[in-house]
Amino acid sequence: MTFLGDIAHVLATADLWRLTLEAAALLLLPALGGVISERSGVVNIAMEGMMLTGAFFSVVADLAWHNPWAAALVGIIAGGLMALIHAVVSIRFRADQIVSGIAINIFAAGLTVFLVNRLYGLADVGHVGQANLLPYINVPLLDQIPFLGRVLFQQNVVVYAALILLVVVHLVLFRTRLGLRIRAVGEHPQAADTAGINVYVIRYGAVITSGLLSGLAGAFLAIGISNTFVPNMTDGRGYIALAAMIFGKWTPFGAFVACLIFGLGQAIYDNNSIIHVSQYLLSMLPYVLTLVVLAGVVGRSIPPAADGIPYAPENE
């Protein structure tokens, strides 16, 4: 078959699109977290580390308790705690948020391997049994729709959750008073402060939320898609989520579109036995596309005005 014929063949399979949505959901969660955090004015390049932490602790909990729901919760909280460090360091101590983000990522990579070694010795972490993974759920009736049923309604429970969260985050950010406050704090914290908004509370909340979402993504990766923890298993996904956030111009649905594009790349990568594009060149795609967007080829991508600037009240 010809090269284009191969591509057409693969694109016509429902499984490719099912995998695309799954990969997109995995990226969407930390990307939503990034949107919330940066909309409140705190630069967050630490989704990678928060995901990794969530992945590790969800596996530890699942191996101990044999309960994926409790394990996922542990992963979510672990991600949130990592975010709390970022929040304290960059909000309370007004540290450079980029340095703090890098530190989180290095910290998570080191800490998880260190703890693997302390808890499990130098051997493998061990595998979570099939019964204790976050389940794939077929939505009754809807999953019988040809093609679309397979793509949309035979997904992991976390994929459904991610799609719901997408809508929730969009509505909260753009349709509620809380969302207005978050955006005000990210655009002009002095004005928001004058208007009686507690800048610190909003920023702490936003950063921690980004950690919770990233932690859920980590749990999804470790005890949903996979069934164990391996060092550095996030493999740059947190950074792809960051790229998706920028690609999507700091909006939830924009980020989702980017996640779908990057997810399609991932799905094609997984189908590489059929399409003989170098998988490694394909893996560059998210990063190159984001560079192209940043270069202004596809319209400007402008961050919130106060993004990255620690807030210090003038009377302090």
């Binding site: 007004r94 340095v99 290095i106 950074y239 060149l281 940043l294």
Partner: protein, 406 residues
């Protein structure tokens, strides 16, 4: 405080002491928290740290490790760190945060390997300068892209350099796993560079010659160290003794003021990034030419460029600081292996320590503690001089969002 006569120490010495306080405090903080972490998880911090000390500096070795060999390993580790540290510190001075030293390092390694393999038959006097220059050009291109994007459309260099780090990582995987640079019949490894492209070691590769109880060939310390020291000197001279250095510092302090002074801000940004990338690329080239002689899967997980961020911050962007911080992180990396072997503590503790140092130096815990407890660490009546370099580094790191998009 300048009017207040110093108690005993001359003012210059006090300033040096003040400059050391923040980094030293950060390192101590990291080691204390690291020790707690080891103790909480049932390990022996003393044993862990003595392993680090032995592996890093060849001191207090419990299991008969050869001190000279350990020190040699540390030197091999910190040689590229010096140049990569410069690659982060120089843009700091211009108010740019180069997170892309890793990608630039890899680009330099790729360029060096490519030239060293393609022209492997050339003699050393021609080929060696070619591979080193090639590495510098590779790194400069990798850093030039963010520089141009920043100067022309205002794209934030932090994001663009992160993206380019990953592009470089995948490029290496592409090149050596079934790609054009792969060693025929090899896997995840490139062909070796020609003999003329290799940096000579200080000691001859002659196993009949025994030095410090081991054959001379096992010590891998190479002449790249001299290049690294020279690079450090170039950095210091460039920054403080040339008009370009003045322009870089001016742009870093205030783009608006620099513009009024007739300095072209976009040009300075681009030139700064090109030079910075050349330093990082040189580090990558030296790692290939001096140590590995080919690209391997080791480079997939390389962290030199990320360590360089810690080096530049901990070294407060000064040449001496970068040297000292490089030695520290080189020693930590070399020590991690011995710690894992002797004390059974994962070498990833080193990463944890590194992260803690970064947190501490970024948050400047010392400053905040002092603000809250004025008596913290000194007599209340004598406010210590702010470490000027530290203040500048933090200012620079904030990347003043002054350039308004047209």
């Amino acid at each position: 405080m300048g009017s207040r006569p110093g108690p005993r120490l001359p003012r210059a010495l006090r300033r040096v002491a003040g400059g050391f306080a923040v980094p030293l405090g950060s390192v101590i903080f990291a080691f204390i928290v690291g020790a707690l972490l080891v103790a909480i998880t049932g390990g022996d911090p003393l044993q862990a740290y003595s392993g680090l000390l032995c592996g890093g500096l060849g001191i207090a070795c419990a299991n008969g490790e050869n001190s000279a060999l350990q020190i040699s390993t540390t030197i091999v580790y910190f040689t590229p760190l010096i140049m990569a540290g410069v690659a982060v510190a120089l843009p700091f001075r211009a108010g740019l945060f180069n997170i892309g030293a890793e990608g630039q390092f890899l680009a330099g390694a790729v360029a060096c390997t490519f030239i060293g393999v393609k022209f492997s038959n050339l003699p050393a006097p021609i080929l060696l300068p070619m591979v080193l220059l090639g590495g510098m050009v590779g790194g400069a291109i990798w850093a030039g892209i963010p520089g141009v994007l920043k100067a022309t459309v205002g794209a934030h260099e932090v994001v663009t350099t992160i993206m380019l780090n990953y592009v470089a990582q995948w490029l290496i995987r592409y090149l050596i796993v079934g790609g054009p640079l792969q060693l025929p019949h090899g896997f995840s490894v490139s062909s070796p560079i020609g003999a003329g492209a290799r940096l000579p070691s200080f000691l001859p590769n002659d196993n009949s010659l025994v030095i410090f109880g081991l054959p001379a060939g096992v010590y891998r310390v190479h002449t790249g160290l001299l290049i690294a020291i020279a690079a450090l000197a170039v950095f210091a001279i460039l920054l403080w003794r040339t008009s370009l250095g003045y322009e870089i510092r001016a742009v870093g302090q205030s783009q608006r003021a620099a513009r009024y002074a007739g300095i072209s801000v976009p040009r300075t940004i681009i030139v700064t990034m090109l030079i910075s990338g050349a330093f990082a690329g040189l580090a990558g080239a030296i790692q290939i030419a001096g140590v590995d002689h080919n690209l391997t899967d080791k480079y997939f997980n390389d962290t030199t460029g990320f360590d360089a961020i810690a080096v530049a911050l901990l070294g407060l962007g000064s040449a001496v600081g970068i040297l000292l911080a490089s030695i520290l992180f080189g020693a930590l990396h070399a020590g991690g292996a011995v710690m894992q072997q002797d004390a059974g503590i994962s070498s990833s503790l080193v990463q944890v320590l590194q992260a803690l140092i970064l947190f501490s130096i970024a948050a400047n815990f010392l400053r905040v503690l002092r603000a809250r407890f004025p008596s913290f660490g000194r007599r209340p009546s004598a406010p210590a001089p702010e470490a000027p370099a530290a203040a500048l580094m933090t200012e620079a790191a904030k990347a003043p969002p002054e350039e308004s998009p047209p």
